[in-house]
Amino acid sequence: MSVPAGKLDLVPGHRFQYEEAQQAHVLLYPEGMVKLNDSAAEIIKRCDGSHTAEEIIQSLETQFPGVDLADDVRALLEQAHDRGWIHGR
């Protein structure tokens, strides 16, 4: 699998939200839930149908200057795509 082209969005049936009880962001999907760590949450939050992978990397590098995040972000997006959480359109 690879990072999908186009603007990245959550696959229908998935929902991203903050869970007070877990003190973390989670991704919810049919009969399942995954707790995201802070960096994964920052990335998944941006998969909202209006940004490409490159734009997401840029936005994160602006928010966290001085860190080369591109490879880590691409790896996570690849994994998210592989698991069927995100797609491009």
Partner: protein, 380 residues
Amino acid sequence: MTGAGSMAVSGPLWLLAELTYACPLQCPYCSNPVDFHRYRDELDTETWVRVLSEARRMGAAQLGLSGGEPLVRRDLETIIAEARQLGYYSNLITSGVGMDKARVAAFREAGLDHIQVSFQASSRELNDLIAGTDAFEHKLAMARAVKAHGYPMVLCFVLHRQNIDQVDQVLELASRLEADYVELATTQYYGWARLNRDQLLPTREQLQRAEAVAHDYQERFRGRMKIYYVVPDYYENRPKACMNGWGSIFLTVAPDGTALPCHAARQLPGLEFPNVRDHDLQKIWYDSPAFNRFRGFDWMREPCRSCPEREKDFGGCRCQAYMLTGDAANTDPVCEFSPHREVVDEAIRQAETAHAGETRPLVFRNPRNARAFSEESPAD
């Protein structure tokens, strides 16, 4: 806090709301209690709304709306809307009987997240025979309606000896319907399924073939249709991590308001399960003796007590231990280290014999059989 030892107890993540035991279908593998006719006093809308809100405050994020057939409840739309407002991810587990396009649209409007439609087989004849009612064509229409309303199409096929050889046709049907997810769930032997186990348990040969077919389709449909195949635990050497541990993340509320660590637990003797009509969920989950009975590891006997895998499988299923060994505190006899493993092997041998020769007829799940079979064996 009894039984939990030094382990910190956290709140439930999953709430299973069994809204009703009523169901237009009569599937002989139903996991509802055999004496479901005794629990007719269902919670009203207001109480369900309170239950949803209490569980959400405790941290539950996934909500299963199940039954029986949840569509029987005319207040389902209200319950869904409340769940959405509270921030739940809500899953409707349905046979599709009692649904129409307008109702799917209303669920969408109310904020339902996911609909799982169950099938009994891939052909009308076998489906309707197992369901005990004429439902197949309607199920096809409803599976399509679900997708047309923007939901992923999630289909569930419960496999057992009488339909497992048609697993290829099942997957062909799913691909024709353009399903997004297919769950091939092998029957688990609780409730009615336990009563019918000798007619339902597949043979090892049947299973191996079904598994090979499922894996073949998993490869061929990669990226288009996700296929989940669940191996039945009788054929495993280690028990399933049932409910991820007793009172750990799952909370079931039965139609009459009884709070349970899993939907089959009501049958366990010596435990008094609290009712949401009498107590709030916080108290039930953290303080009730029933929810603490098998929490953590202190309740365990050998071979579980000193087993390095006890944190992986939690000793398996308490209900299965009770049903097959007579004591819920025993190791789940599916485990190869259980001194009772022989009872599982015997069931497997019986399946081979029954498959080869004459079998008793299936007992269909309906109120008449419920009365007949629970009076016959009140303690079972």
